[in-house]
């Protein structure tokens, strides 16, 4: 059976450039970047180059980039550090949205227990927040605004530049979790007024377990852990040189091909959305159509449940996701879909298909052919669907 991998928002396959960079590094540059001998310095120069490449892709300076274990660490770091700076000035208020990733939401929940006040901005039913909402929510005590660049489940892209401008004018730090956006939409941290940004390599064909934190020059930054002097004394521990090299290679490629990929992938996305909405009655597209991540398709099918949909698709070789992989194992429907105001019974029937430039037209056609059959199979056995049809016919 052929595998149709359309769960690229969960993770991506690595690109050959990243694999090459990593194997080269593992074979040759095995020295410790902190060592003064030439073997160490060879590894150190790989890290210098990777930092330059990544900074360039974001419109940042190399010394504004810190390597981390991934997006979660970067999110924790950005929020914790901002809270520390705020607390020192008796500012204990943070603004975010109701549909952030758990790396942000759970860090904020922890801060609430420590005495911080958090405002969760409402999300519109098509999945956006506005700069006006942020402006209204900012008060004298606000020390941080943290709003995701693009939502991981429904793909909606937030007005980051405008939100950043509001924060800048009010003198409040602005962090964005850009894990889903980096490598897929063009980002310029200076032009978009971003103070801090989190990214994760495995979302753009880089290796897992590595990411980066952009923190604007001038923001006092203290590390989360104590140890050696790596990352300019802020992130101790011997650098993961191969992963950093792989991340930089993947990012360079993704950013160089960003327009071409976005055009190709969004055409596949629109074809799938339009075809399924036409073929399957009572289908809801979650999140506005634009601005939206090029690869994100998110549906709710009335009368069926997402996990069985996901597993029947898997039996046909299609790897999708029901909401976010991070929430599977929980019985509640996704907090993102509930934040849009969807009732529980509809939010249970969600499916996310996340595409990348490796997906083909044939794969899109296969999904368009198989998905309606699977939905029909589940609806045919669903007492909820039976009721919906009965009500429709009355």
């Amino acid at each position: 059976m052929k595998t149709v991998y359309v769960d690229n928002a969960a993770t991506t396959a690595m690109c050959p450039e990243a694999i090459d960079a990593m194997t080269e590094c593992m074979n040759g540059a095995y020295g410790n970047p902190s060592s003064l001998h030439h073997a160490g310095q060879e590894a150190a120069s790989i890290i210098v180059k990777a930092r330059e490449d990544i900074a360039k892709c974001l419109g940042a300076e190399p010394n504004e980039i810190y390597f981390t274990s991934g997006g979660t660490e970067a999110d924790n770091w950005a929020i914790r550090n901002s809270a520390r700076l705020g607390a020192a000035k008796n500012k204990n208020h943070i603004i975010t949205t109701a549909f952030e990733h758990h790396a942000v939401l759970h860090t904020l929940k922890k801060l609430e227990k420590e005495g911080f006040e958090v405002t969760y901005l409402d999300v519109s039913e098509d999945g956006y927040v506005t700069a006006e909402q942020v402006e209204k929510a900012i008060k004298d005590e606000t020390c941080l605004v943290t709003i995701m660049y693009a939502n991981n489940e429904i793909g909606t892209i937030q007005p980051i530049k405008e939100i950043g401008a509001v924060c800048k004018a009010k003198g409040v730090l602005f962090h964005t979790d850009a894990v889903q956006a980096v490598g897929h939409v063009a980002i310029d941290v200076k032009e978009q007024n971003i103070d801090m940004l989190s990214l994760s390599a495995h979302k753009f064909h880089g290796p897992k377990g590595t990411g980066a934190f952009y923190c604007r020059k001038g923001i006092s930054l203290v590390g989360l852990m104590q140890g050696g002097a790596q990352e300019r004394n802020r992130r101790p521990g011997t650098e993961n040189t191969p992963a950093i090299a792989g991340m930089a290679a993947a990012m360079k490629k993704a950013c160089a091909e960003i327009d071409k990929n976005a055009e190709y992938v969004s055409a596949l996305r629109d074809k799938i959305i339009d075809s399924i909405v036409e073929a399957v009655p009572r289908t809801r597209v979650n999140g506005g159509r634009s601005p939206r991540l090029p690869g994100n398709v998110s549906f709710c099918f009335e009368g069926i449940e997402g996990e069985s949909l996901l597993l029947y698709l898997d039996l046909k070789g299609i790897c999708g996701s029901s909401g976010s992989a991070c929430t599977s194992g929980s019985l509640d429907p996704s907090h993102v879909l509930l934040a849009l105001g969807l009732p529980h019974e509809i939010a249970h029937g969600s499916l996310r298909i996340s595409l990348c430039e490796y997906n083909t037209e044939e794969e899109a056609d296969y999904i368009i052919e198989e998905l309606p059959k699977v939905v029909k199979r589940l609806r045919d056995m669903s007492p909820v669907w039976e009721r919906i049809m009965k009500e429709e016919n009355e």
Binding site: E307, D332, E345, M381, V384
Partner: protein, 146 residues
Amino acid sequence: MAYSAKVMDHFENPRNLGKMDDADGVGEVGNAKCGDIMKIYLKIEDGIISDVKFNTFGCASAIATSSMATELIKGQPVEKALELSNKAVVEALDGLPPAKIHCSVLAEEAVKAAVADYYTKNGIELDPEIFGSCNGSCDHCDHCGE
């Protein structure tokens, strides 16, 4: 969280799937808000469950537990079906992930609800010791945090 091969088999090839127009007892339990509803139809002849069908809205384990429960009661005397426990369903499926045990409880309750419907239609009094539990209400159960 991985499902056993038996769960996947019953999910992929559900036994006794369908509806019944002339059922002698129908039971529906669960709540769409919690993400699972099971409906069981019974055909009863001479006190024996001669046929059974089910329809389910829910996850793979909800479908598999419904399927297994119908298989376990088909051909059995009605009284025997009332003895079906959720544990027996779980064991017959070679286990369920801890978060999915409630599906087996729902399957047990769906069978009881269908028998209760049959008894009620036939003027047989319901023994509160057996039928005291759910019958479609989610009040007793906190799996969806309600």
